[in-house]
Symmetry: D2
Subunit: 135 residues, 4 copies
C-alpha cells in the first residue's frame, strides 16, 4: 500500500517528469532496498555463510543505493536533471551487479536470492525507463 503515486499527485508543484515512470521507479527502489536488506540477512543465516559473502556485500550496497535513489526521486521541488541521472546510473549499476550474483544463488535453490534478483531486475528496468523519460 505505497503512497508514492498519491503523494506525487498531491504535490503542489509541477511534475518535472512523467508521473507514471517516476512513481514506478520510486516504488521499485523502496521495494528493492527492503528485499536486499532482507536477502543480506537471510544469507547470514545460511549454513554455508562463507559462500554468500559476495552476495551479502552486493546486497548491502544495493540496499543503500536504492534507499538513496528512492529518496532523491521522491523530491520534485527544484528538480536537477544531472543529479537525478547520475543517481539513476548508480542505481542501475548496483541493481545489475546484485541481480547477477543473486541469480546464481537462486538457481542453486536459495529462494530468497531468487526473489531479491527479481526485485533488483525490476528496479534496474524502472530506473532505465525513468532515465529515458528524463531524456
Amino acid at each position: 500500500m505505497s503512497y508514492a503515486r498519491t503523494m506525487a499527485e498531491q504535490h503542489p508543484g509541477e511534475h518535472p517528469v512523467d508521473v507514471q515512470a517516476l512513481t514506478a521507479a520510486i516504488d521499485a527502489a523502496y521495494d528493492c532496498a527492503q528485499a536486499c536488506t532482507a536477502c543480506a540477512d537471510a544469507c547470514l543465516s545460511e549454513e554455508d555463510v562463507a559462500s554468500q559473502v559476495r552476495c551479502i556485500r552486493l546486497d548491502l550496497d544495493c540496499a543503500d543505493v536504492c534507499a538513496t535513489t528512492g529518496r532523491v526521486l521522491s523530491r520534485q521541488t527544484a528538480f536537477d536533471a544531472d543529479v537525478t541521472r547520475a543517481v539513476l546510473e548508480a542505481c542501475i549499476a548496483a541493481c545489475a551487479a546484485c541481480a547477477e550474483e543473486c541469480e546464481v544463488h537462486g538457481e542453486h535453490g536459495m529462494d530468497h536470492c531468487a526473489t531479491c534478483a527479481e526485485a533488483c531486475r525490476r528496479c534496474e528496468q524502472a530506473c532505465r525507463d525513468l532515465l529515458a523519460a528524463i531524456g
Copy 2:
C-alpha cells in the same frame, strides 16, 4: 508489490516473532519513510513555506527513523529484543509527532499532509502491534 512477506517466509532461520505482525510493520515503515520524504518536499513547494517549517523538520526525522526501523525489522538473524524494542519506541514517537503536525495541515486543505498523517498513524499502530507481539 512489496517483497517483505515473501522474503520473511523464505528466510532460512527461525522467525523470532510473529511473521504477520513483523511484515506489517516492515511494510508500514518503508511506506511511511517514503510518504514523509515526499511530504517534506511537497511542503517545500507550498506558497507559504514558512508555515511548514515544523512539518518539514518532523517529516525528515520521521523518514529517517522509519527507514532505520524498516531495516532493523528486515533482519531476523540473531534477533535482539532490547534493540528492537528501543527502535520501535523511537519509531512510535517519531510517527506520533509527525502525524499530529500533519493532521493540522491536512485539516487546512493540504492533501499531502493528510496522506502523510495516514501513513504515520498506520506505521505507529503497526509498531505498537509488533511491540505487543514481542512482549
Copy 3:
C-alpha cells in the same frame, strides 16, 4: 575534520540544548556509524565468518541507528524533546549491544572489533550525556 561544531554555531536559530554536548553526540554518532559499517565488512572477510554472524547483524543495526541519530541531532529547528529522547534511547541500546559483542571478539585478537567497540562505547556515552543535558 568534522563540520558539526561549526555548523551548529552558524545556525541562525537558538540552540535547543548545550552545543558542546550536542556536537559531541553528533560526531560520535557519525563516527560510530562508519566504524560499524566497516566492522561488518571486516567480519565478512574473516576466515571463520560463521562465528561473526551475530557481530555482523549488530554492526548493521548499530550503523543504521547511529546514522539516523546523527541526522536527527543535526537538526535544531523546531526541536522536539520527545522524539530526540526516544532516538537517543534507541542509539544507547544499539551501541551497548554492539559494543558488548565486539568486545568479546576484540579480546580474541580481532582488532577491527576492538576499534568498533571503542566507537560504540564513545557514542553510547555521548548519547547518555546529551540525554542528561536535555533533562
Copy 4:
C-alpha cells in the same frame, strides 16, 4: 576522531585500492553528509526560508548520496569497481550541484552555506581523486 583509517588498516582482507585515497574519501563523504543535513536545517531557520528552497533540496539529496557513498566505500570485501565508480560519479554530481548553490548563499552572508559548500567541494575532490586511483 574518525576511525576510517584505523578500520581500513585493521581489515583482514586485501585493500582493493590505495588506502590513503580511500579513507580520505570516506571521511569527506561522512563529513559532507553531516554538513548538508545541518545546512538544510539551518536554511529552514532562516527568516526568508522561501529563498532557500532550492538549497534545502540539494542539501537533502547531497546528504543522502554522501551517506550512501561513505557506506559503499567503507566496504572492502568483494570490491566491485563498476558499482564503486557509478556511486562516486553520483556523489561528484550531487556535491557539485550543492556546492554551486551554497556558494551563492555563502557570498550573501549565510555562513552555514559557506561551510557546507566547503564540505561539498572537499568531498567532490576526494571522490575525483579516488576515481583516478581506481582507474
